[in-house]
């Protein structure tokens, strides 16, 4: 145990002890001799940037990966520590470890009850004891406050409800140690609060929790103790009460983080105007209803909302993937008549798509090709139908150094880049043409603090030069920090738009949950 003299883990009885765990993926050391203790009834937050090794460590604990070195001990029924057989989720489950993955491991077409009882009964039994199972689950729900309809199909549940199913699944199997991998990434602030209340309630009954996150606010709000990982090593272990926010952020990143400040300035004239627009969702989910907004030059309009409330329809509309059924879009004074990605691009729209792997880059193509994708018809990129490869490679090299893309050269396949560098490639492609309108859809999702800061700076630079930016983000802090004005999407409708200064995370959360804006909710 390093870096602390007084940890609750030493006073209370231990639930879990990780000792010297090392895991390598090829040349990458994902976990470097990590030792960590967890006390009974304690909430331990595991902090760190993407790639710091948090998820790897937990995957080893749960038996998804085999550690190269090190051992794990778990308290058995009598409270004695016993070694955990490595590499077996079954052994971990039997030892009382339950894991809620970041990407839920639920079968959508099965009922809640099916998902929970899966694997809990012998496969050789000729019947299922569903009645006994639901009785036990009802009792568990009463005690934990994790309410969800047991007969509902999981596919019909909200994200918050699915998470409850995952936790119930672990509790039903008698978990005494619960691992939550970035549990709040998909929740509204209110849902997060409910989750924290549940966790407090559960730890009071002796459950121990490891909580993985890179959001400092919530970690400080809920945990008893913090362990910080950086580049595979444990760099700090601190009592939550004694934690200093700024210092923690610095410990996590390894260097001081410069905050990006949005400087007040007076926006120019309206660049993009939507008037009473109604548009379908290309994936057939929530349609966009009656959207009305204006973004002026040098202004960022932030859109909040729980995923699936019409944001994808709005994004598809601005990209030209769908045409409005009613209303109109005006860009720089010209109503848009043809809706196709190319027409919108020509009107001056640059797009940072929500899913960069799926819609942003072509993984098996080289970086210079990816950078040229959007303007292959330009004379600069081709003559007579032949790519000007030499010129494009030079341009790619320049763009990559301007946007600080690391991890490869113009000839590298795009799929080999990390998420942050991939996003930089997309930024380079989008911002290179100095678009009048920028659609930034979840521009920092899954990026670490350094890359997030880079993306923010570039967006603010674009704002300063006079771009009109539509920012959609599930990170409400980001939304409030970058946007001049914010609105909330709920069931396809865009709320009234307020200056960001008048908004708080709490009030946004209420609007996202469909509560009427009371104005004084802040």
């Amino acid at each position: 145990m390093t870096g602390s003299s007084q940890t609750p883990a030493q006073q209370a009885s231990l639930a879990l002890s990780i000792s010297g765990v090392t895991k390598r993926f090829g040349n990458l050391v994902a976990n470097d001799a990590i030792s960590l203790d967890l006390a009974e009834g304690e909430i331990l937050a595991l902090l760190g940037e993407n790639g710091a090794g948090k998820t790897t460590l937990m995957s080893i604990l749960f038996g998804h990966y085999l550690a190269d070195e090190g051992e794990i001990f778990v308290a058995n029924g009598e409270g004695h520590l016993a070694p955990l057989p490595p590499g077996s989720p079954k052994a971990a489950l039997n030892a009382g470890i339950g894991m809620v993955h970041q990407h839920f491991t639920l079968a959508d077409n099965l009922s809640v009850l099916d998902n929970i009882t899966l694997g809990t009964e012998s496969l050789l039994k000729f019947w299922r004891s569903d009645r006994a199972a639901s009785a036990r689950l009802k009792e568990l729900q009463e005690n934990s406050g994790l309410h969800v309809d047991l007969d509902a199909r999981v596919g019909r549940l909200s994200v918050g409800e699915r998470q409850r199913v995952e936790i119930l699944k672990a509790l039903y199997r008698g978990a005494r140690i619960l691992i939550l991998d970035e549990p709040t990434a998909v929740l509204t602030p209110q849902e997060s609060d409910a989750l924290f209340a549940t966790l407090k309630r559960l730890t009071a009954t002796g459950l121990s929790v490891i909580f993985i996150s890179h959001k400092l606010n919530e970690v400080l709000a809920v945990s008893d103790r913090l362990a910080v990982l950086r580049a595979g090593r444990k760099v700090a272990e601190i009592d939550a009460k004694a934690a200093d926010r700024a210092l923690l952020a610095e410990t996590m990143v390894g260097s001081a983080v410069q905050p990006n400040v949005r400087r007040a300035h007076i926006p120019g004239e309206a660049v993009i105007v939507a008037r009473n627009v109604r548009a379908p969702d290309p994936r057939g989910r929530q349609t966009l209803e009656n959207a009305d907004f204006t973004i002026r030059a040098g202004e960022i309009l932030g859109i909040a909302g729980v995923s699936g409330n019409g944001q994808s329809a709005l994004a598809a509309l601005i990209c030209g993937l769908v045409a409005p059924q009613e209303g109109e879009i005006v860009i720089a004074g010209e109503p848009v008549r043809r809706f196709s990605p190319r027409a919108l691009m020509q009107a001056g729209v640059g797009r940072i798509p929500e899913d960069r792997h799926h819609d942003g880059i072509v993984g098996t193509m080289r970086l210079w090709e990816n950078l040229a994708l959007e303007d292959i018809r330009d004379p600069a990129a081709q003559t007579g139908g032949f790519l000007r490869q030499g010129a494009l490679r030079i341009r790619a090299k320049e763009a990559m150094s301007a946007f600080d893309v690391r991890g490869g050269g113009p000839e590298t396949e795009a799929r080999l880049l990390s998420g942050g560098n991939m996003q930089k490639i997309i930024l380079a492609r989008v911002l290179d043409g100095e678009p009048r309108v920028i659609l930034a859809n979840q521009p920092t999702r899954g990026l670490d603090v350094g890359a997030v800061s880079f993306v923010h700076r570039r967006l603010l630079d674009a704002r300063a030069r006079g771009a009109a930016i539509l920012l959609m983000s599930e990170d409400l802090d980001e939304l409030l920090a970058l946007s001049d004005r914010v609105g909330v999407m709920y069931r396809g409708t865009l709320s009234a738009i307020h200056p960001a200064e008048d908004m708080t995370v709490r009030r946004l959360g209420l609007l996202m949950a469909g509560h009427d804006d009371l104005g004084d909710a802040a």
Partner: protein, 315 residues
């Protein structure tokens, strides 16, 4: 049109429909088990052939009829194991592997048959299963001769539908199989073996398909000849979709196809002079396509069908 009415109200018509449907019931049920676990098995056409050939050969060489069925099931399970090993732990393309299994199993069956009988002018015969009348029930008017004077494998097929439906819906094993086809990561994180479940399901399904093949040589006919499967396997693939992956509906779909096929044979006889017989041959297929179009619109695929699961893969 009174002709048509006479045809479909005859007990003999329904008896024939059920007989024609029997191999399809086995095939559809077998395919359904594979797909419920998340593995498409396009080896079905070849496994039918291998079952038909190996079951018949066993009986021809002096084995008992039921031993023939058992041998067919084992041969089917063997080809199922090959398909499963290639597609489950190795994660190869299920389409390509399945077609390969069909080519391999078909050719191996023909080859074996040719080696055993290099020069025969007419196919050697065996003594096949005889119809069994169920005492009491077979004397019922109309229903008796239609339903209860079939060969043992037909009764077995219907029994198997009930067993498989029960296992899938009501047992922990069935839940685990269904979950493997919906989200293997969920199965893995609950401490069950996705590989074990999928390989087991593909072997069991393939064994049932092969029994369907053996019905053709041990019950419907008394000999093995080339091309005798005639696309029945592919029909089963479509019937699984028609059935929305449910055993009860699979039985219904197979019976429907059997009825269309029985109908076209009778229409050929009654109206064959006026209309080319090929049109009647088309009939069951055309009607199946129509039924498929209507039924499959609402069908919910197993979410992880054809998606290999690689354990411990870094995501």
């Amino acid at each position: 049109m009174s002709d048509l009415f006479d045809i479909i109200t005859a007990a003999a018509f329904w008896s024939a429909a059920i007989r024609i449907a029997t191999p399809l019931i086995f095939g559809t049920l077998g395919e359904l088990i594979c797909e419920r676990a998340g593995v498409l098995n396009l080896g079905i056409e070849g496994i039918f052939t291998a079952g038909a050939m190996s079951g018949w050969m066993t009986v021809y060489l002096g084995g008992d009829l039921w031993t023939g069925v058992l041998v067919a099931a084992l041969v089917g399970a063997g080809f199922g194991l090959l398909h499963a090993v290639l597609t489950v732990p190795l994660g190869l393309s299920q389409h390509v592997t399945g077609l390969g299994i069909t080519l391999l199993a078909t050719s191996a069956s023909y080859f074996t048959y040719r080696i055993a009988f290099p020069n025969v002018s007419s196919p050697p015969r065996i003594e096949p299963f005889q119809p069994i009348s169920i005492p009491g029930l077979s004397d019922l008017p109309f229903i008796g001769p239609a339903l209860f004077q079939q060969t043992p494998l037909t009764y077995f097929a219907v029994f198997l539908v009930i067993v498989v439906a029960y296992i899938l819906a009501r047992t922990p094993l069935g839940l685990a199989i269904r979950a493997s086809g919906e989200n293997p990561a969920a199965v893995d994180s609950q401490g069950l073996s996705v590989y074990g479940l999928r390989i087991g399901a593909v072997m069991a399904g393939s064994a049932i398909m092969a029994v369907g093949g053996s019905f053709l040589t041990l019950s419907a006919f008394n000999a093995f000849f080339f091309e005798m499967i005639a696309g029945r396997g592919w029909i089963c693939i479509a019937l699984v979709v028609f059935a929305s992956w449910k055993p009860g509906k699979a039985l219904l779909g197979a019976l429907l196809f059997g009825a269309f096929d029985a109908l076209q044979v009778r229409l050929q006889q009654s109206m064959g002079g006026a209309i080319p017989y090929q049109l009647f041959l088309m009939l069951p297929y055309v009607l199946s396509i129509l039924a498929l179009v209507i039924m499959s619109r609402r069908a919910a695929y197993p979410n992880a069908l054809m998606i290999p699961f690689i354990k411990g893969q870094r995501s």
